[in-house]
Amino acid sequence: MKKEGKEQLWKDYQKEIADDRYFYVRSCVRQNFFPGSETAFLKILQEELGKDVYEHPCHTTCTGIGYHADVVPFDTAMTVVARQFAIMTESGYHNLVPSCITSFGLYTEILETWKHFPEVEARVREYLYKATKRDFRVPENLAHASDVIYKFRSEIAAKGKFRLVHHETGRPLKVVEHIGCHYAKMFPDKGVGGAEYPYVLTGMIEEWGGEVVDYPERRHCCGFGFRQYLVQANRGYSMSCSHKKFESMEPYAPDLILTNCPGCPMFLDRWQYAISEMEGKTYGGDGQGIPVFTYEELAGLVLGYNPWDLGLQMHQVACEPVLDKMGIPYDAAAKYLDKHGHSLGQPLQPQKLKV
Protein backbone atom coordinates (compact mmCIF):
# COMPACT_ATOMS: atom_id res chain seq x y z
CA MET A 1 0.00 0.00 0.00
CA LYS A 2 1.44 3.33 -1.07
CA LYS A 3 0.40 6.00 1.40
CA GLU A 4 1.37 8.87 -0.91
CA GLY A 5 -1.19 7.66 -3.46
CA LYS A 6 -3.94 7.96 -0.87
CA GLU A 7 -2.65 11.31 0.33
CA GLN A 8 -2.92 12.64 -3.23
CA LEU A 9 -6.56 11.57 -3.38
CA TRP A 10 -7.27 13.00 0.06
CA LYS A 11 -6.07 16.37 -1.20
CA ASP A 12 -8.62 16.16 -4.00
CA TYR A 13 -11.50 15.51 -1.61
CA GLN A 14 -11.47 18.26 0.97
CA LYS A 15 -14.72 19.76 2.13
CA GLU A 16 -15.62 22.85 4.03
CA ILE A 17 -16.67 22.17 7.61
CA ALA A 18 -18.02 25.10 9.64
CA ASP A 19 -16.02 25.76 12.79
CA ASP A 20 -18.76 26.97 15.15
CA ARG A 21 -22.49 27.63 15.62
CA TYR A 22 -23.91 24.23 14.77
CA PHE A 23 -27.55 23.25 14.54
CA TYR A 24 -27.49 19.62 15.67
CA VAL A 25 -30.09 17.09 14.55
CA ARG A 26 -30.17 13.69 16.20
CA SER A 27 -30.47 10.22 14.79
CA CYS A 28 -33.67 8.18 15.26
CA VAL A 29 -31.88 5.09 16.46
CA ARG A 30 -28.50 5.97 17.92
CA GLN A 31 -29.75 6.81 21.39
CA ASN A 32 -31.05 3.26 21.66
CA PHE A 33 -28.11 1.59 19.98
CA PHE A 34 -25.27 3.60 21.55
CA PRO A 35 -26.84 5.76 24.23
CA GLY A 36 -23.70 7.66 25.24
CA SER A 37 -22.54 8.76 21.80
CA GLU A 38 -24.65 11.85 21.07
CA THR A 39 -24.26 13.04 24.66
CA ALA A 40 -20.50 12.66 24.31
CA PHE A 41 -20.58 14.66 21.06
CA LEU A 42 -22.35 17.57 22.79
CA LYS A 43 -20.01 17.40 25.76
CA ILE A 44 -16.89 17.40 23.57
CA LEU A 45 -18.10 20.30 21.41
CA GLN A 46 -19.59 22.43 24.16
CA GLU A 47 -17.42 21.73 27.19
CA GLU A 48 -14.05 20.75 25.72
CA LEU A 49 -14.01 22.99 22.66
CA GLY A 50 -16.36 25.79 23.75
CA LYS A 51 -18.49 25.61 20.62
CA ASP A 52 -22.06 26.79 20.21
CA VAL A 53 -24.19 23.74 19.44
CA TYR A 54 -27.94 24.05 19.47
CA GLU A 55 -30.61 21.40 19.25
CA HIS A 56 -34.26 22.25 18.94
CA PRO A 57 -36.81 20.14 20.84
CA CYS A 58 -39.18 20.16 17.85
CA HIS A 59 -36.90 18.53 15.30
CA THR A 60 -38.07 15.17 14.04
CA THR A 61 -36.85 12.19 12.08
CA CYS A 62 -35.63 13.15 8.60
CA THR A 63 -37.59 10.08 7.35
CA GLY A 64 -34.39 8.67 5.85
CA ILE A 65 -35.10 5.16 7.13
CA GLY A 66 -38.60 5.27 5.66
CA TYR A 67 -37.28 6.77 2.43
CA HIS A 68 -34.62 4.08 1.99
CA ALA A 69 -37.09 1.36 3.00
CA ASP A 70 -39.45 2.55 0.25
CA VAL A 71 -42.30 3.53 2.56
CA VAL A 72 -41.84 7.34 2.47
CA PRO A 73 -42.00 9.07 -0.93
CA PHE A 74 -39.28 11.58 -1.83
CA ASP A 75 -41.64 14.57 -1.79
CA THR A 76 -42.66 13.73 1.77
CA ALA A 77 -39.03 13.28 2.82
CA MET A 78 -38.12 16.65 1.25
CA THR A 79 -40.99 18.41 3.03
CA VAL A 80 -40.01 16.97 6.42
CA VAL A 81 -36.40 17.99 5.79
CA ALA A 82 -37.57 21.46 4.73
CA ARG A 83 -39.23 21.70 8.13
CA GLN A 84 -35.91 20.92 9.84
CA PHE A 85 -34.35 23.71 7.75
CA ALA A 86 -37.18 26.03 8.80
CA ILE A 87 -36.58 25.31 12.49
CA MET A 88 -32.86 25.90 11.99
CA THR A 89 -33.56 29.21 10.21
CA GLU A 90 -35.98 30.31 12.96
CA SER A 91 -33.34 29.49 15.57
CA GLY A 92 -30.80 31.72 13.81
CA TYR A 93 -28.38 28.96 12.71
CA HIS A 94 -26.88 28.22 9.27
CA ASN A 95 -24.62 25.22 9.85
CA LEU A 96 -26.46 21.92 9.94
CA VAL A 97 -24.86 18.92 11.65
CA PRO A 98 -26.76 15.64 11.51
CA SER A 99 -25.75 12.83 13.81
CA CYS A 100 -26.92 10.16 11.38
CA ILE A 101 -25.18 9.15 8.15
CA THR A 102 -28.42 8.40 6.36
CA SER A 103 -29.75 11.83 7.37
CA PHE A 104 -26.53 13.37 6.06
CA GLY A 105 -26.95 11.43 2.81
CA LEU A 106 -30.60 12.44 2.49
CA TYR A 107 -29.90 16.12 3.24
CA THR A 108 -27.12 16.04 0.66
CA GLU A 109 -29.34 14.34 -1.90
CA ILE A 110 -32.10 16.90 -1.35
CA LEU A 111 -29.76 19.91 -1.55
CA GLU A 112 -28.18 18.52 -4.74
CA THR A 113 -31.64 17.87 -6.20
CA TRP A 114 -32.69 21.45 -5.48
CA LYS A 115 -29.48 22.79 -6.95
CA HIS A 116 -30.17 21.06 -10.27
CA PHE A 117 -33.98 21.33 -10.18
CA PRO A 118 -34.96 24.65 -8.56
CA GLU A 119 -38.60 23.96 -9.44
CA VAL A 120 -38.55 21.02 -7.02
CA GLU A 121 -37.36 23.30 -4.23
CA ALA A 122 -40.13 25.77 -5.07
CA ARG A 123 -42.70 22.98 -4.92
CA VAL A 124 -41.41 21.79 -1.53
CA ARG A 125 -41.49 25.36 -0.18
CA GLU A 126 -45.13 25.49 -1.15
CA TYR A 127 -45.88 22.12 0.50
CA LEU A 128 -44.19 23.24 3.70
CA TYR A 129 -45.92 26.59 3.73
CA LYS A 130 -49.35 25.02 3.16
CA ALA A 131 -48.76 22.48 5.90
CA THR A 132 -47.02 24.61 8.53
CA LYS A 133 -46.86 28.26 7.39
CA ARG A 134 -43.08 28.01 7.77
CA ASP A 135 -40.34 29.22 5.45
CA PHE A 136 -36.62 28.40 5.45
CA ARG A 137 -33.15 29.09 4.14
CA VAL A 138 -31.04 26.17 2.99
CA PRO A 139 -28.02 25.48 5.24
CA GLU A 140 -24.85 27.40 4.42
CA ASN A 141 -22.82 24.44 5.58
CA LEU A 142 -23.76 20.79 5.90
CA ALA A 143 -21.35 18.52 7.75
CA HIS A 144 -21.83 15.17 9.37
CA ALA A 145 -21.04 15.03 13.09
CA SER A 146 -18.02 12.83 12.27
CA ASP A 147 -16.76 15.61 9.97
CA VAL A 148 -16.89 17.97 12.95
CA ILE A 149 -14.96 15.58 15.22
CA TYR A 150 -12.51 15.09 12.32
CA LYS A 151 -12.08 18.87 12.05
CA PHE A 152 -11.15 19.10 15.75
CA ARG A 153 -9.15 15.85 15.91
CA SER A 154 -5.89 17.60 16.83
CA GLU A 155 -7.56 19.70 19.53
CA ILE A 156 -8.98 16.46 20.95
CA ALA A 157 -5.56 14.81 20.78
CA ALA A 158 -3.99 17.82 22.52
CA LYS A 159 -6.48 17.64 25.37
CA GLY A 160 -6.40 13.84 25.38
CA LYS A 161 -5.30 11.69 28.27
CA PHE A 162 -4.99 8.44 26.32
CA ARG A 163 -3.79 7.46 22.88
CA LEU A 164 -4.56 4.60 20.51
CA VAL A 165 -1.34 2.85 21.46
CA HIS A 166 -0.63 -0.08 23.71
CA HIS A 167 0.29 1.65 26.95
CA GLU A 168 2.91 -0.95 27.85
CA THR A 169 4.57 -1.69 24.53
CA GLY A 170 3.91 1.57 22.69
CA ARG A 171 2.54 -0.41 19.73
CA PRO A 172 -0.04 1.58 17.76
CA LEU A 173 -3.43 -0.10 17.95
CA LYS A 174 -4.61 -1.58 14.65
CA VAL A 175 -7.91 0.00 13.75
CA VAL A 176 -10.41 -0.98 11.08
CA GLU A 177 -12.33 2.06 9.92
CA HIS A 178 -15.80 1.52 8.53
CA ILE A 179 -17.68 4.32 6.82
CA GLY A 180 -21.46 4.37 6.47
CA CYS A 181 -22.48 3.90 2.82
CA HIS A 182 -24.59 7.07 2.76
CA TYR A 183 -21.62 9.20 3.85
CA ALA A 184 -19.88 9.43 0.47
CA LYS A 185 -20.87 6.57 -1.84
CA MET A 186 -23.74 8.63 -3.27
CA PHE A 187 -21.84 11.94 -3.46
CA PRO A 188 -18.07 11.26 -3.23
CA ASP A 189 -17.09 14.94 -3.13
CA LYS A 190 -19.26 15.51 -0.06
CA GLY A 191 -17.13 13.22 2.11
CA VAL A 192 -13.70 13.96 3.56
CA GLY A 193 -11.33 11.90 1.42
CA GLY A 194 -14.00 10.78 -1.10
CA ALA A 195 -15.79 7.46 -1.40
CA GLU A 196 -13.07 4.94 -2.23
CA TYR A 197 -10.47 5.90 0.41
CA PRO A 198 -12.39 8.03 2.94
CA TYR A 199 -10.19 10.01 5.28
CA VAL A 200 -12.69 11.16 7.90
CA LEU A 201 -12.10 8.30 10.36
CA THR A 202 -8.54 7.59 9.18
CA GLY A 203 -7.65 11.18 10.10
CA MET A 204 -8.92 10.65 13.66
CA ILE A 205 -7.16 7.29 14.05
CA GLU A 206 -3.82 8.63 12.83
CA GLU A 207 -4.08 11.79 14.92
CA TRP A 208 -4.84 9.79 18.04
CA GLY A 209 -1.89 7.42 17.55
CA GLY A 210 -3.48 4.36 15.93
CA GLU A 211 -2.65 2.51 12.72
CA VAL A 212 -5.33 2.05 10.07
CA VAL A 213 -5.93 -1.43 8.68
CA ASP A 214 -6.91 -1.49 5.00
CA TYR A 215 -8.29 -4.95 4.27
CA PRO A 216 -9.82 -6.31 1.04
CA GLU A 217 -13.50 -5.98 2.01
CA ARG A 218 -13.06 -2.51 3.52
CA ARG A 219 -15.51 -0.91 1.09
CA HIS A 220 -18.17 -3.56 1.58
CA CYS A 221 -21.40 -2.47 3.29
CA CYS A 222 -21.96 -3.70 6.87
CA GLY A 223 -25.23 -5.15 5.60
CA PHE A 224 -27.58 -2.95 7.62
CA GLY A 225 -29.56 -1.88 4.54
CA PHE A 226 -32.87 -0.99 6.08
CA ARG A 227 -35.02 -3.44 4.20
CA GLN A 228 -32.69 -6.35 4.94
CA TYR A 229 -32.69 -5.64 8.60
CA LEU A 230 -36.33 -4.64 9.07
CA VAL A 231 -37.64 -7.98 7.79
CA GLN A 232 -36.50 -10.78 10.08
CA ALA A 233 -36.21 -13.40 7.34
CA ASN A 234 -33.88 -11.06 5.41
CA ARG A 235 -31.50 -10.50 8.29
CA GLY A 236 -29.37 -13.41 7.13
CA TYR A 237 -28.41 -11.25 4.16
CA SER A 238 -27.51 -8.42 6.47
CA MET A 239 -25.42 -10.69 8.69
CA SER A 240 -23.73 -12.36 5.71
CA CYS A 241 -22.38 -8.95 4.67
CA SER A 242 -20.85 -8.37 8.09
CA HIS A 243 -19.55 -11.95 8.07
CA LYS A 244 -17.76 -11.29 4.77
CA LYS A 245 -16.07 -8.28 6.35
CA PHE A 246 -15.02 -10.14 9.51
CA GLU A 247 -13.53 -12.99 7.47
CA SER A 248 -11.59 -10.45 5.40
CA MET A 249 -10.26 -8.39 8.34
CA GLU A 250 -9.46 -11.40 10.54
CA PRO A 251 -5.89 -12.02 9.22
CA TYR A 252 -4.94 -8.45 10.17
CA ALA A 253 -5.93 -9.06 13.83
CA PRO A 254 -7.42 -5.59 14.35
CA ASP A 255 -7.70 -4.27 17.91
CA LEU A 256 -10.91 -2.41 17.25
CA ILE A 257 -13.39 -1.20 14.61
CA LEU A 258 -14.28 2.49 14.33
CA THR A 259 -17.50 3.57 12.60
CA ASN A 260 -19.43 6.73 11.75
CA CYS A 261 -22.95 5.47 10.99
CA PRO A 262 -25.84 4.52 13.28
CA GLY A 263 -26.31 1.06 11.76
CA CYS A 264 -22.75 -0.12 11.18
CA PRO A 265 -21.52 -0.21 14.80
CA MET A 266 -24.81 -1.79 15.86
CA PHE A 267 -24.54 -4.62 13.38
CA LEU A 268 -20.79 -5.11 13.35
CA ASP A 269 -21.11 -5.43 17.12
CA ARG A 270 -24.28 -7.57 17.48
CA TRP A 271 -23.69 -9.89 14.53
CA GLN A 272 -20.45 -11.05 16.14
CA TYR A 273 -22.65 -12.61 18.80
CA ALA A 274 -25.11 -14.20 16.32
CA ILE A 275 -22.26 -15.55 14.15
CA SER A 276 -20.54 -17.00 17.21
CA GLU A 277 -23.73 -18.85 18.13
CA MET A 278 -24.37 -20.13 14.59
CA GLU A 279 -20.83 -20.89 13.47
CA GLY A 280 -18.97 -21.10 16.76
CA LYS A 281 -16.53 -18.55 15.36
CA THR A 282 -15.18 -15.44 17.05
CA TYR A 283 -12.87 -12.85 15.54
CA GLY A 284 -11.02 -11.24 18.42
CA GLY A 285 -8.30 -12.99 20.38
CA ASP A 286 -9.09 -15.66 22.96
CA GLY A 287 -12.75 -16.29 22.10
CA GLN A 288 -13.61 -12.61 22.30
CA GLY A 289 -14.96 -10.37 19.57
CA ILE A 290 -13.45 -7.30 17.92
CA PRO A 291 -14.70 -4.29 19.91
CA VAL A 292 -16.65 -1.75 17.84
CA PHE A 293 -16.86 1.96 18.64
CA THR A 294 -18.55 5.08 17.40
CA TYR A 295 -16.29 8.08 16.74
CA GLU A 296 -17.78 9.93 19.74
CA GLU A 297 -17.10 6.97 22.03
CA LEU A 298 -13.52 6.75 20.84
CA ALA A 299 -13.01 10.52 21.16
CA GLY A 300 -14.48 10.26 24.68
CA LEU A 301 -12.02 7.49 25.57
CA VAL A 302 -9.11 9.55 24.23
CA LEU A 303 -10.32 12.46 26.37
CA GLY A 304 -10.43 10.20 29.43
CA TYR A 305 -14.20 9.96 29.94
CA ASN A 306 -15.50 7.16 32.13
CA PRO A 307 -16.26 4.23 29.75
CA TRP A 308 -19.58 3.53 31.52
CA ASP A 309 -20.65 7.18 31.05
CA LEU A 310 -19.98 6.67 27.35
CA GLY A 311 -22.42 3.74 27.36
CA LEU A 312 -19.83 1.11 26.50
CA GLN A 313 -21.58 -1.41 28.76
CA MET A 314 -24.31 -1.50 26.09
CA HIS A 315 -21.95 -3.09 23.55
CA GLN A 316 -22.33 -6.80 22.82
CA VAL A 317 -18.60 -7.30 22.26
CA ALA A 318 -16.75 -6.40 25.45
CA CYS A 319 -14.80 -3.15 25.17
CA GLU A 320 -12.44 -4.01 28.03
CA PRO A 321 -9.60 -5.43 25.88
CA VAL A 322 -9.25 -2.02 24.22
CA LEU A 323 -9.44 -0.20 27.59
CA ASP A 324 -6.73 -2.50 28.91
CA LYS A 325 -4.51 -1.93 25.89
CA MET A 326 -4.88 1.84 26.06
CA GLY A 327 -4.31 1.76 29.82
CA ILE A 328 -7.70 3.30 30.62
CA PRO A 329 -8.70 2.60 34.23
CA TYR A 330 -12.27 1.44 34.84
CA ASP A 331 -14.35 0.06 37.67
CA ALA A 332 -15.48 -3.39 36.54
CA ALA A 333 -18.01 -3.55 39.37
CA ALA A 334 -19.69 -0.36 38.18
CA LYS A 335 -20.26 -1.58 34.61
CA TYR A 336 -23.96 -2.29 35.09
CA LEU A 337 -24.80 0.42 37.61
CA ASP A 338 -26.75 3.53 36.69
CA LYS A 339 -25.54 7.01 37.61
CA HIS A 340 -27.21 6.75 41.03
CA GLY A 341 -25.40 3.48 41.74
CA HIS A 342 -28.49 1.30 41.24
CA SER A 343 -28.15 -1.97 39.33
CA LEU A 344 -29.20 -1.94 35.69
CA GLY A 345 -29.46 -5.73 35.77
CA GLN A 346 -27.01 -8.16 34.19
CA PRO A 347 -27.19 -9.18 30.55
CA LEU A 348 -27.42 -12.87 29.65
CA GLN A 349 -24.14 -14.54 28.76
CA PRO A 350 -23.63 -15.73 25.17
CA GLN A 351 -22.77 -19.42 24.83
CA LYS A 352 -19.72 -18.96 22.62
CA LEU A 353 -18.61 -15.34 22.56
CA LYS A 354 -16.58 -14.39 25.63
CA VAL A 355 -17.66 -11.04 27.02
Binding site: A233, A274, E277, Q351
Partner: protein, 107 residues
Protein backbone atom coordinates in the same frame (compact mmCIF):
# COMPACT_ATOMS: atom_id res chain seq x y z
CA UNK B 1 -28.15 -22.18 19.68
CA UNK B 2 -31.06 -19.75 20.02
CA UNK B 3 -33.61 -19.68 17.17
CA UNK B 4 -32.69 -16.46 15.40
CA UNK B 5 -35.23 -16.85 12.57
CA UNK B 6 -32.48 -16.16 10.03
CA UNK B 7 -29.12 -17.60 9.12
CA UNK B 8 -25.85 -16.90 7.33
CA UNK B 9 -26.29 -17.15 3.59
CA UNK B 10 -24.06 -19.07 1.25
CA UNK B 11 -22.01 -16.67 -0.88
CA UNK B 12 -22.97 -16.72 -4.57
CA UNK B 13 -19.61 -15.21 -5.47
CA UNK B 14 -17.33 -17.49 -7.47
CA UNK B 15 -14.26 -17.77 -5.25
CA UNK B 16 -11.62 -18.32 -7.89
CA UNK B 17 -8.84 -18.57 -5.31
CA UNK B 18 -10.59 -21.30 -3.33
CA UNK B 19 -12.05 -23.38 -6.18
CA UNK B 20 -10.27 -26.59 -7.13
CA UNK B 21 -9.80 -26.57 -10.91
CA UNK B 22 -7.70 -29.73 -11.21
CA UNK B 23 -10.36 -31.66 -13.13
CA UNK B 24 -10.51 -28.79 -15.64
CA UNK B 25 -6.77 -29.06 -16.20
CA UNK B 26 -7.19 -32.77 -16.85
CA UNK B 27 -10.00 -32.07 -19.34
CA UNK B 28 -7.82 -29.52 -21.17
CA UNK B 29 -5.06 -32.10 -21.37
CA UNK B 30 -7.45 -34.65 -22.86
CA UNK B 31 -9.13 -32.15 -25.19
CA UNK B 32 -7.02 -28.97 -25.77
CA UNK B 33 -9.64 -27.32 -28.01
CA UNK B 34 -11.54 -26.64 -24.77
CA UNK B 35 -9.48 -23.43 -24.53
CA UNK B 36 -10.79 -22.05 -27.82
CA UNK B 37 -14.35 -21.42 -26.68
CA UNK B 38 -15.35 -17.75 -26.89
CA UNK B 39 -18.76 -18.36 -25.33
CA UNK B 40 -20.68 -17.28 -28.42
CA UNK B 41 -23.52 -19.71 -27.65
CA UNK B 42 -23.82 -21.24 -31.13
CA UNK B 43 -23.60 -24.74 -29.62
CA UNK B 44 -26.40 -24.08 -27.18
CA UNK B 45 -28.62 -22.52 -29.84
CA UNK B 46 -28.37 -25.49 -32.21
CA UNK B 47 -28.44 -28.21 -29.55
CA UNK B 48 -31.03 -30.98 -29.88
CA UNK B 49 -30.80 -31.83 -26.20
CA UNK B 50 -30.83 -28.16 -25.20
CA UNK B 51 -34.16 -27.69 -26.92
CA UNK B 52 -35.82 -29.94 -24.36
CA UNK B 53 -33.58 -29.77 -21.29
CA UNK B 54 -31.41 -27.10 -19.65
CA UNK B 55 -28.31 -28.59 -21.28
CA UNK B 56 -25.85 -25.92 -22.43
CA UNK B 57 -22.32 -26.68 -23.53
CA UNK B 58 -21.44 -22.99 -23.26
CA UNK B 59 -22.55 -22.83 -19.63
CA UNK B 60 -20.79 -26.11 -18.86
CA UNK B 61 -17.49 -24.85 -20.32
CA UNK B 62 -17.75 -21.56 -18.41
CA UNK B 63 -18.44 -23.47 -15.18
CA UNK B 64 -15.43 -25.72 -15.78
CA UNK B 65 -13.18 -22.72 -16.48
CA UNK B 66 -14.09 -21.25 -13.10
CA UNK B 67 -13.85 -24.53 -11.18
CA UNK B 68 -17.58 -24.39 -10.58
CA UNK B 69 -18.48 -28.06 -11.07
CA UNK B 70 -21.94 -28.10 -9.58
CA UNK B 71 -24.36 -29.79 -11.99
CA UNK B 72 -21.72 -30.24 -14.70
CA UNK B 73 -21.73 -34.04 -14.69
CA UNK B 74 -25.52 -34.28 -14.76
CA UNK B 75 -25.51 -31.85 -17.66
CA UNK B 76 -22.80 -33.73 -19.56
CA UNK B 77 -24.94 -36.87 -19.33
CA UNK B 78 -27.74 -35.10 -21.20
CA UNK B 79 -25.66 -34.69 -24.37
CA UNK B 80 -26.64 -37.12 -27.14
CA UNK B 81 -23.33 -36.66 -28.98
CA UNK B 82 -25.12 -35.82 -32.24
CA UNK B 83 -22.29 -33.49 -33.27
CA UNK B 84 -24.42 -30.64 -34.58
CA UNK B 85 -22.55 -28.13 -32.41
CA UNK B 86 -19.22 -29.40 -33.67
CA UNK B 87 -20.27 -28.56 -37.22
CA UNK B 88 -21.21 -25.01 -36.28
CA UNK B 89 -18.53 -24.00 -33.72
CA UNK B 90 -16.66 -20.97 -35.16
CA UNK B 91 -13.55 -21.76 -33.14
CA UNK B 92 -13.22 -25.43 -34.00
CA UNK B 93 -13.87 -26.79 -30.52
CA UNK B 94 -14.11 -30.57 -30.73
CA UNK B 95 -17.33 -30.65 -28.79
CA UNK B 96 -18.10 -34.36 -28.87
CA UNK B 97 -14.66 -35.29 -27.63
CA UNK B 98 -14.96 -32.54 -25.06
CA UNK B 99 -18.20 -33.95 -23.66
CA UNK B 100 -16.57 -37.38 -23.44
CA UNK B 101 -13.58 -35.85 -21.68
CA UNK B 102 -15.89 -34.15 -19.20
CA UNK B 103 -17.64 -37.46 -18.52
CA UNK B 104 -14.24 -39.05 -17.97
CA UNK B 105 -12.88 -36.48 -15.53
CA UNK B 106 -15.94 -35.23 -13.65
CA UNK B 107 -17.75 -37.66 -11.44
Amino acid sequence: MPDFGFKLQKDRQIDFDANDRSATRAIIETEPTFRLCIACGTCTACCSAGNFTDFSLRRMITGLKRGNYEGVRAMADQCMLCGKCQMLCPRGVSTRKLVLAIRKHIR
